[in-house]
């Protein structure tokens, strides 16, 4: 019976990593009136991840509308991507977290999420 069960076997001892900086980004005026912008960087050292989803949230984890070149950023292995996040000045005071979440492919066993905080 046991042999019928093929379990999720993945190569282990295979270090993969996700990093996002800065920890405490700051918004500044953008080229458009009423819109502020901040820049963040993601480093992808996960061979099993090709996309990271960006989200902007309040302190209660409610989503806040934002604009970026990509909401889901395509990334190659060992790529570092710099991206801008544009937020309306009307909702700027509510922005608490900017997060990136790995979009795992079938077979991956760990999803990673890193959130920077606006202070």
């Amino acid at each position: 019976m046991k042999s019928l069960l093929l379990l999720a076997l993945l190569p282990f001892c295979n270090a993969v990593a996700h990093e996002m900086t800065p920890t405490y980004p700051t918004f500044s005026k953008s080229f458009m009136a009423g819109i502020s912008v901040t820049t963040l960087n993601i480093f992808n050292k996960r061979k099993d991840v090709s996309y990271y989803e960006i989200g902007v949230f309040t302190d209660k984890w409610e989503p806040i509308p934002f604009v970026s070149e990509y909401t889901i950023i395509p990334m190659k292995y060992l790529d570092t991507v710099s991206f801008d996040v544009y937020v309306s000045n009307l909702s700027l005071g509510s922005v608490e977290f900017i997060c990136s979440v790995s979009q795992v492919q079938a077979g991956a066993t760990v999803s990673s999420k890193i959130c920077s905080r606006i202070k």
Partner: protein, 165 residues
């Protein structure tokens, strides 16, 4: 020959030295790096049970957090509550999971385990010291009431979060 050598030595100070200082620049900033050190593997000790515990023949997933600034991040590890892929299941699956500190790079991090906060399937750790911390996250799935899991491939996902304070 000696004269030539003396003349060369006398002229030597007049030869310009083509040396420059080459700076090496770097920028260290606060960061959190989440690394999957070991991917988990389910063992199948009973027909109705899948478990990553080594006692059950599984491999416990290990996730490493590296932080470069003390007291800047929370680590949250959430054990799975569903399969991300599996054969069709007709009965419910009961999940249990635990997350613990398995290794630290600093002796001062020994208090992380005692100070952890668990709610639902999520365990939160306060990363008060800069350095690396390894978390192991065990998960067990039991199918129905002593039902056998259907044959096939099963995958579940552990969510590792690093949230700035």
């Amino acid at each position: 020959m000696k004269k030539l050598l003396i003349v060369s030595l006398l002229l030597a100070p007049h030869i310009p030295a083509y040396a420059e200082d080459t700076p090496i620049v770097g920028n260290v900033q606060t960061r959190c790096l989440i690394t999957t050190d070991t991917n988990g593997v389910f063992g199948n000790p009973l027909p109705s049970k899948l478990s990553t515990a080594s006692a059950d023949g599984g491999v416990v997933p290990v996730i490493r957090y590296d932080v470069t600034l003390a007291d800047a991040y929370h680590a949250k590890v959430t054990t799975p509550t569903a399969f991300s892929s599996s054969p069709s299941l007709s009965d419910s699956v009961t999940w249990t999971g635990t997350t613990a500190v398995s290794k630290t790079s600093d002796a001062g991090m020994s208090g992380y385990e005692a100070a952890k906060v668990t709610y639902g399937s999520t365990t939160q750790f306060d990363l008060t010291i800069a350095g690396s911390t390894w978390f192991s996250s065990e998960a067990t799935a039991v199918y129905g009431v002593s039902k056998s899991f259907p044959g096939g491939s099963y995958t579940a996902i552990v969510l590792a979060e690093c949230i700035a304070k």
